[in-house]
Assembly symmetry: C2
Homo-oligomer: 201 residues x 2
Amino acid sequence: MENKIDQKHKQKMQLLKSKVDASIAAATIKKGVGILLTGDGKGKSSSALGMALRSLGYGYKVGIVQFIKGAQPSGEAKFFSEIVSNATFYQMGTGFTWETQDRSKDVKAAEASWEVAAKMLSDDAYHLVILDELTYMISFGYLDEERVIKALTQRPKKQSVVVTGRGGGKALKDWADTVSEVRDIKHAFNSGIMALEGVDF
Amino acid sequence: MENKIDQKHKQKMQLLKSKVDASIAAATIKKGVGILLTGDGKGKSSSALGMALRSLGYGYKVGIVQFIKGAQPSGEAKFFSEIVSNATFYQMGTGFTWETQDRSKDVKAAEASWEVAAKMLSDDAYHLVILDELTYMISFGYLDEERVIKALTQRPKKQSVVVTGRGGGKALKDWADTVSEVRDIKHAFNSGIMALEGVDF
């Protein structure tokens, strides 16, 4: 009986393998990818950081600009200041707009952060560039969308870029090779559970 | 004119702040969280790895069991063998079912991997435990769902656990405090772009 299940499994898997192999063979373009991680669920920034971890594993140089973030301590800030050296980590540092309550100051900080990002996007030493929460800078009107898309499009051919944040707009979605929408099915915070070190920040 | 925009912005942000502060004040439970990252889009395993990076930043111990994965080299495998020491990283190592084509061997490998996971889930030295691709072990019938849920539920109170993989079933969704569904809006692979070191693996 068990043997029959095993045999059936083998046949099914042989068929599946031929399909998978064909689709792998069809993917022949080798270039850096543009990834947009959007949606209202947990896991966009952490997903970008996970790709950073993978790149660091291979010894690749990683550049990270976190828009908004930086007013509060975080695991990633500690990681990039204390544990690895093969990365450039920059935080806008203002905190959320409802904390600063100062639009002009936020715009200036966004501009300064963009300067750092734009440098990374023109430097082929960076295998992976992460622009965390960038979508808000566009939707708030803090950064000019056209300028952002231009820099993303004209980046080095082998460089991959991950943009995170809710929304993102049509131009960013058109630019991206991969778009994932992280949907919030359920969130611990809504059940009264506090945000956690090493998980949420 | 600019000044008026700034003033309006400030008023809006003050109102928003009071709302945000109230919701933060309402979250009073401090405990480890269970997170399920499901759906067909890119970013589930990388999101789990990003949380690992955050935990490592704080100096917390991390345990990772990757079901299925390990037959191919990966950035995370290199990262955890060469760069950090404060983590236990274990891979089932069989590769995809369509590669092994051997159900009995896969089941044995799943059992051996679960032993490693179960130990982590009963050891409060681990701040964060990642069970990557675990959902398939349940949907394939390689691991008993009830046994898995029991171990997840009885883990140390301060320990957080991230489970990844498509599907997941009702029991896992009920167990989790946070569930995110990563939807595939667009994937580079489907445009013929190869999977990339430091991004996809």
